[in-house]
């Protein structure tokens, strides 16, 4: 009999320190340190091969770390008891095709130690959440890929787990399904679950996550709340009639840089844009375009992960698992 986990709401849902995973010469996870709190939606981003799925497998005990340590819901990585309160949607989602959707969920209810009397109700609730209530009696083998992913999401949410780990949860879904998933993730967080969302779909992460970590080559290259990761707002102005010697006059708006006809002030408060434009005009500049705002997550992501990568079309460095 697996002992019930000692869960405490004070302990983080995930806490890893200097987590490492090496496959021969390849360092898939290289000293990962992060904390995911209860009730937060945490986006885990990275390009293909950055070590995201390996990290998920380490968290769930499907692979063993070669260094560092970590805890899930206060228990060491790989602890079977803690897994009672963890829901998981794998990247490669596949469920017994000979079972009906509801049977897959009751099976997982049994595997997670749920009493028999609760399994049916929990299965129906999970099917309702992911929009498969009317397909409960259908064989999984007849489901489309998108429906199987919805079923996997239901499996992950079964029994109101304290931690939900979703590995690319919308990879097989259409736009409607993706919107649904955002609502489902938010719903799970609203009832107190921590959601660890592993994805490379940045718009999805941007819309749903409280905090993010960007991982590349097995290391966290940026982490924090979205505002912190995205940085402060910037202003870009396409103009003529301005030279490097004019720049000190506008430094009070923020540090300016001039490359060709593009003036960039980063960071800069968006409220000051009209005053800056007025001053530039008074200095004789001719302005053709003004853009002000924050980098998108996609821009920021590309800045962070593209720094040490060769341009497309050139021989690339060995990729990570």
């Amino acid at each position: 009999m697996i002992p019930m986990p000692r869960l405490s709401l004070d302990l983080p849902a995930i806490e890893v320190t200097d987590l490492q995973k090496r496959y021969g010469q390849i360092e898939a996870v290289a000293g990962l340190t992060m904390t995911v709190g209860r009730g937060e939606v945490f986006g885990f981003l990275g390009p293909n091969g950055a070590g995201k799925t390996t990290t998920v497998k380490l968290l769930l005990g499907l692979a063993r770390p070669t260094g560092g340590s970590g805890k899930i819901l206060g228990a060491p990585l790989g602890d079977l008891g803690a897994r009672r309160k963890v829901g998981y949607l794998p990247e490669l989602f596949r469920y017994q095709p000979w079972l009906k959707a509801r049977e897959v969920l009751t099976l997982h209810g049994e595997l997670m130690g749920m009493p028999r009397s609760r399994r049916g109700k929990a299965a129906d609730e999970a099917l309702g959440i992911v929009g498969l209530a009317d397909r409960a009696g259908d064989l999984v083998g007849r489901f489309s890929k998108g429906m199987q992913q919805r079923l996997g999401l239901g499996v992950a949410l079964l029994g109101e787990p304290a931690l939900v780990v979703l590995d690319e949860p919308t990879s097989a879904l259409d736009p409607v399904g993706r919107v649904d998933v955002r609502g489902i993730v938010r719903g799970a967080a609203a009832r107190g679950a921590a959601v660890f969302l592993n994805s490379h779909l940045l718009s999805e992460v941007e819309q749903v996550c409280d905090r993010v970590a960007i991982i590349d080559h097995g290391r966290v290259v940026a982490s924090g709340e979205l505002d912190d990761v995205l940085g402060q707002a910037e202003t870009l102005i396409r103009l003529t009639g301005l030279s490097e010697s004019d720049l000190p006059a506008i430094e009070r708006f923020g540090p300016p840089t001039l490359e060709g006809d593009l003036l960039a002030i980063r960071p800069m408060n968006a409220e000051d844009v009209p005053e800056l434009v007025a001053q530039l005009v008074s200095m004789g500049a001719k302005i053709s375009e003004v853009r002000s705002g924050r980098s998108s997550l996609e821009q920021r992501f590309l800045e962070l992960v593209a720094r040490d990568r060769p341009p497309a079309g050139t021989p690339s460095a060995p990729r990570l698992r």
Partner: protein, 281 residues
């Protein structure tokens, strides 16, 4: 573990494997009954004595058991070789092993489920064949449970081997290795009998070593012994030709080799659990 055992049996039923096995068993038993009754009728027409008919029927039963044993072993290999490998490849196992399910429970649950299906198939087909032959010929082996148990034991040995291979190898590779190993062990058993009759120590040693590594041949001797009437055993015991035949056994397998077969299965399953625990998913 029980959940996985039930799931595995359920899979065999839902995928219509059980029905196919039942239909095949019914066809095999019907053909056996028809063949044996035709042979007996023809023999009686030619004035063959009852004792000779009894001898012939026992030999037919042994031959049927040989064919059925091979089918059973192949079934075990087909069931066992994908048991773990396929679910690891397609991701079904990962979703379950992320639950509080120990890997040992998963593997042993799969093995027990398949073992129940195989033993059930062996028992139903074996007893039906013996019963039907008994009805049409009047010959029933002295202890019908023994040969069926040894047949099932052979299949369980192969199932265990393929489940072990399945923790590391793709299904086709595991199945092929197990079937080839079974064939080699059977041949080693035949050569061992010839070696024993001729007094060739090296052949006997090689055969003993083979039985130690894969004890299926020793169990086959139990099947043959269990199907023979006592007068065949008495008549064949001193005969060179009989003693070298894989279809004759003067004695059943020694208790030590039967005990080793059980220990072998336990050790192989323990090794399989260790391999799966070590494996990175």
């Amino acid at each position: 573990m029980l959940a996985i055992t039930r799931l595995t049996i359920g899979e065999a039923a839902r995928r219509r494997v059980l029905w196919v096995l039942v239909i095949l068993a019914a066809i095999a038993v019907s053909l056996t009954a028809w063949g044996v009754s035709s042979l007996i009728a023809a023999a009686r027409d030619h004035g063959v004595t009852d004792l000779e008919i009894k001898f012939a029927v026992s030999q037919i039963l042994i031959f049927i058991a040989f064919m059925f044993g091979f089918v059973l072993v192949m079934t075990a290999a087909f069931f066992g070789s994908p048991a773990i490998a396929t679910e690891l490849e397609n991701g079904i196992a990962q979703a379950m092993l992320a639950r509080p399910l120990p890997r040992a429970s998963y593997l042993l649950g799969r093995w027990f489920g398949l073992a129940i299906v195989i033993v059930g198939y062996a028992a139903v087909s074996g007893f039906l064949a013996i019963g039907v032959v008994g009805l049409v010929s009047g010959y029933v082996p002295p202890d019908p449970i023994l040969p069926v148990a040894y047949l099932a034991g052979q299949a369980l040995v192969l199932l265990s081997l393929t489940v072990l291979l399945s923790t590391r190898l793709p299904p086709i590779a595991g199945g092929a290795i197990a079937v080839v190993a079974y064939g080699l062990a059977w041949m080693a058993g035949v050569l061992g009998k010839i070696g024993l009759a001729l007094g060739t120590t090296s052949l006997v040693t090689a055969s003993d070593a083979s039985r130690f590594l894969l004890p299926t041949d020793a169990l086959w001797q139990g099947v043959v012994y269990g199907l023979e009437p006592s007068f065949v055993i008495n008549a064949g015991e001193g005969e060179f030709v009989a003693r070298t035949s894989p279809f004759f056994a003067a004695t059943g397998p020694a208790p030590a080799i039967v005990a080793w077969s059980v220990i072998w299965v336990v050790l192989i399953l323990a090794l399989a659990v260790t391999q799966l625990r070590r494996r990175e998913l």
